[in-house]
Symmetry: C3
Subunit: 419 residues, 3 copies
């Protein structure tokens, strides 16, 4: 493994075996991590939060992507803007709270003052030769997909965000993200490389043995299966599940809710996938009783029986849109062996805690599921450190989306560092 860790990245990528987990260095090496931060997180659209994080003019929310600290600001014209959170004088961090509301952005060190458009509007004692207009905050690209905020640190972001936005917009719009509030946010640090967190998210092969809460609302038959291992009983159930989905898709689309699968996980620079799927039990929400957790439904929705719309993006997010609430996840790498998983629960902005929803009921399925996944990610990280670790085979029946994540990752890296 020592040799593998010092192998140049390009040859590591060539060593990768299709349909298998990655060589250990991809999960362990600080050099690969730096390359990930430069080429993946530095050059793609990264999901960081939602418009309800900055609902009013003057609201500021800080998001860290690796070593970059980004201030997302709602300006006086109600536009969402983003800047690097670094003073242009002596380089001090400008905003230190995760969320705040300001008139201007004022550096604590020497009181240099920037307006919400990032212009330097005040700097004392700098002398007549000093040109303020050259010392504004450095802007960061930011886009809102129906209220979901994506930033890109590159000078020239991938242009296919527009295509994703166009195709995904109609799926998400009925849930009206902009009209929600953040009812709860959970930040946990998973003890593993960010790619292990993503791989864990992209399959439910592990759900049956590990997620007693999540498997209440989810159909086991949605996790994938090897047809040759099924008995009569299984086959009948699987067939019923297939019919159920086809019927639901037809019904929901007739109601104006786009539901059919789009899978561009490995076919676009801004890779994504979506599908609306029915829920088990009474099928309303991701709760322990599968009933809606919030009495006020989202947007103009009138029925809670809409299943769950899921939306996955490369490299770092997934989202579940229920009729009554939204759960949205972003993965932000901390170092080669630790990753921040940030989860937000959104409800209708007029919903009242204790009246329309109970916070524990709203959050319990995913809080438990996240903790379980975090432990599994940690086991894989520990395993990858072993000199006996070897890339293992993905199941062709239940780990296809893991394979697509890894393919996308390897392809994007190769694109940037050369093949």
């Amino acid at each position: 493994m020592l040799d593998v860790l010092t192998t140049p990245l390009r040859s590591l990528l060539r060593q990768r075996q299709s349909g298998h987990s990655l060589p250990a260095a991809f999960y362990l090496s600080p050099d690969v991590f730096e390359a990930d931060m430069e080429h993946i997180f530095g050059k793609h659209w990264i999901y960081v939060g939602v418009e309800p994080d900055v609902p009013e003019p003057g609201d500021v929310a800080i998001f860290d992507i690796g070593k970059a600290s980004i201030a997302v600001v709602r300006d006086d014209d109600n536009e969402v803007r983003a800047f690097h959170n670094v003073c242009r004088h002596r380089g001090a961090r400008l905003v230190t709270d995760e969320k705040t509301t300001v008139g201007n952005l004022v550096c604590r060190y020497h009181s240099w003052t920037y307006n919400l458009g990032g212009d330097l509007i005040h700097a004392e004692h700098m002398g007549p030769a000093f040109d303020r207009s050259c010392h504004g905050l450095k802007p960061v690209h930011v886009r809102s997909l129906e209220g979901l905020l994506f930033v890109c640190l590159a000078d020239e972001p991938p242009t296919d965000f527009d295509e994703m936005a166009k195709r995904m917009g109609p799926y998400i719009a009925p849930h009206n993200v902009r009209n929600t509030k953040v009812a709860f946010q959970s930040d946990i640090i998973e003890p593993g490389n960010w790619k292990l967190t993503m791989e864990n998210n992209r399959e439910c092969y592990h759900c049956g043995a590990n997620h007693p809460e999540l498997t209440v609302p989810l159909f086991a038959y949605g996790f994938g299966f090897a047809p040759e291992e099924m008995d009569e009983f299984d086959r009948a159930n699987a067939e019923r599940y297939g019919c159920l989905i086809a019927k639901n898709h037809a019904d929901w689309e007739a109601e104006g809710l786009p539901s059919r699968e789009i899978d561009e996980l490995d076919t676009m620079v801004t890779g994504f996938r979506t599908e609306r799927l029915p829920l088990d039990g009474d099928g309303e929400s991701h709760t322990l009783d599968t009933k809606a957790a919030c009495g006020k439904l989202l947007g103009d929705l009138t029925s809670a029986k809409l299943g769950g719309l899921s939306f996955w993006t490369q490299p770092n997010s997934w989202h579940h849109f229920l009729a009554d609430h939204i759960v949205t996840f972003s993965v932000l790498p901390l170092d080669a062996e630790r990753s921040l998983l940030r989860t937000k629960w959104l409800v209708h902005k007029d919903a009242v805690e204790g009246v329309d929803y109970d916070l524990e009921n709203l959050t319990s399925v995913w809080l438990a599921t996240n903790d379980q996944d975090s432990e599994l990610v940690g086991l894989c990280q520990q395993g990858a450190r072993s000199p006996a670790y070897r890339p293992g085979p993905y199941s062709p029946n239940t780990e296809m989306l893991v394979d697509k994540f890894v393919n996308w990752y390897a392809g994007r890296m190769a694109e940037h560092i050369g093949r």
Copy 2:
């Protein structure tokens, strides 16, 4: 020192001055540490524990050697086997408890299941092309020397283990390790490089000033001395001590207890040394009153006055076999500046705590001694970091075994990386 730290290992080895402590980089450099783990801990027989750690079929004990996690298993045929503790699917750590008892080894992630022989016997959804027989657990070489367990991570372990086993067997057998139980285990993290822990173990020049408890049962005249510094009184005592040893060796060997020194510390790949030595005071055990700590003697021993049989192995263990109990030590490097010292106290498996032995009485001498040594190792580690550190001279009278450890280490490294 900066230059020293970046000097290639081969030239560092050539810089080593015979009869002196090592250049600082050997205690500090992460690169040297990686080389130590690869060439010393990766290619030699490493003492990890005892058969009583896995007394029954299905018992599993986990030992970490650097980044390798090893599952030592007693299989259904009562054989001790060892495997890398890594699932062959997605690489998750398989067994997470230090000790457990199982029917099969089941991975928590996706329930891949291995029998106690390491064969993959169950893996769902993998499709018809998947070959289970290629995905068994990776085996690790394991050998038992009269109940002391040694593992070797290399494909081809040193062959002279057999010679050590043949010569040491008769010394150890009378203490019947297999018929003991682990009465207590202590794990402490010493704040120093593993070689400083070993050097500390290989001399008693420091005992008089630092180990008030240990010097109760040990004879000061066994620590070595400079003949030219002795007065009349010292010389008389030393002479008496020499006679005592000769007489004891003759008596014990007549009783069928091999006792005379064997020293192959620097002359075999699997370097070792042994000798049975009398104890001070009434001379029964390593206790504060020098009396046996356990009423039930080991094996078929009938007398407690057998002194102590010591057994040292390169690179990482030492053991003291008393008539009533065994204390056994393994050093497992954690990083360049931290080492795990694991100590086990073994008593007859039928001995009952509180009846046959008192745990505090059994363990107090070595618990105190370990703590004292750990502090001394820490002082050396701190000193080695100083740019003023220079290798210092070993005493030719009291530090001969330290010199042999360092010679063995340097020789083995040179063997593997070239001279």
Copy 3:
């Protein structure tokens, strides 16, 4: 920034833009840190403490400069001497307490014993071939500037210490450091590179917005200002401040107290600067009521209205000499991103706590100021980590001394590593 971090130091120095903060690698890179420790802290006079730290023969004080641990000792002839704190036998750290009093320096490991002159006077069991005289403690250069202790780790220290001592001696002597005691010492770890701590110390542009306590005794007009930004009122105040200084300097010098500015911050290898400045309010001391904190004045001083004599040295100290007490600061780098700031408050050695001075009153201004500065340094360190950090411009009116620090640093580095 990745590229910058791996750029060779020489080319990093060439990238530096005059009048601007340094490229980020100077604050972040472990390699630059090692070079700083080797060329700046390893080859210049480093302020570490005061003679009152070792008032009596046998007193020992330990100071760490990077990986070097240095024992400053007052020997039996009342001379201050310094040695590397490393035993010449197995390299153990010799003295483990920060301050102690000893007859000889005895290593705990094997009792090797050195006298206060560093000679090895006792080492058992080493045999007849061993030469004690080759195994004395390694000496370190130490100099006292009127009681302020500077050490130099180089074999040949900069020779211009003598010039600094000759010119500064008359300024400091009236405050009689040798006749003081350490009333209090504060050690805080600032979360930033040592150069950020120094840059923070070398300007008061940030004082108005950040130091409510310190700006009680200090005149705001002493912080520098942009003349073109001043109104009528400001200009009149600034003029009055200029007259006040001129008058004070004349008066104090007539009383035998050298007061006028000397600035050799960027013009000597042992760079320094001094000036005696009046205080605001009633102008006696650095206290919240600007009155003397200690009833017993220093040396032979009879008036408390002497303003404050400040003394700054490159690379790591500053000092404020008041009539009633002295506050003295040393910065000792811990790693690229953490620095120890050690502050000592000295009062007349016969002053009695609770009678002549109240400890809280004595220390409150600088304890608060240090905490505020530590936070500001942390903000700059966080900012420097951002890929958006760019060196920013220093104010030509208020940050001239920061610029001189950076110039001195860059010049000294270039001198040692080549341009």
